[in-house]
Amino acid sequence: EPEVTQTPSHQVTQMGQEVILRCVPISNHLYFYWYRQILGQKVEFLVSFYNNEISEKSEIFDDQFSVERPDGSNFTLKIRSTKLEDSAMYFCASSATGAGNTIYFGEGSWLTVV
């Protein structure tokens, strides 16, 4: 079964540093997403992306965050000037269409900010 892949699986970074999390969505999917899960809490929507632009974002997704599809296969989440509270599992997901379709999640990237 095709799957969403994410790298790195775990990253430790110093507070104030920039982090880039990478994702390879399922190849024929058109919609891409990032979610965040702080340890012990629920999964929170960050942003959705279609046709090379953001289609929706949450209040969490402020100027500290950005997303990009630099080529035909990768989808990245950049976090600038990381803070301790950015420590979380970040999930990438993709779907064939934007609504009424199964969303497939990657295995997540653990980010620890120290």
Binding site: Q37, A93, A99, N101, T102, I103, E107, W110
Partner: protein, 107 residues
């Protein structure tokens, strides 16, 4: 925005027991999925079920969209069923997760 409530928040079962998990949502949706988050943090897609009933082995799910709820049934539970079960609904480009039901199955 859409609100998603799951119950119960915690559940302890003896191996072999059956259980029903519930998900209520506040608005009409075009997507509803059930996920199992295993102890390693992976989100495993169980069902895509915006309406109707589906079964997969010991698991089945029913969504009654007109009444805005979904049920996940686990029969003959096993220790490997332990983890957190999330309901997630979408009304557009955003998917909202419930707080989850934390299940522990005792051997």
């Amino acid at each position: 925005g859409i609100q998603v409530e799951q119950s119960p928040p915690d559940l302890i079962l003896q191996e072999g027991a059956n259980s029903t998990l519930r998900c209520n949502f506040s608005d009409s949706v075009n997507n509803l999925q059930w996920f199992h988050q295993n102890p390693w943090g992976q989100l495993i897609n169980l069902f895509y079920i915006p309406s109707g009933t589906k079964q997969n082995g010991r698991l089945s799910a029913t969504t009654v969209a007109t009444e805005r709820y979904s049920l996940l049934y686990i029969s003959s539970s096993q220790t490997t069923d332990s983890g957190v079960y999330f309901c997630a609904v979408s009304g557009g480009f955003k998917t909202i997760f419930g707080a989850g039901t934390r299940l522990f199955v005792k051997a």
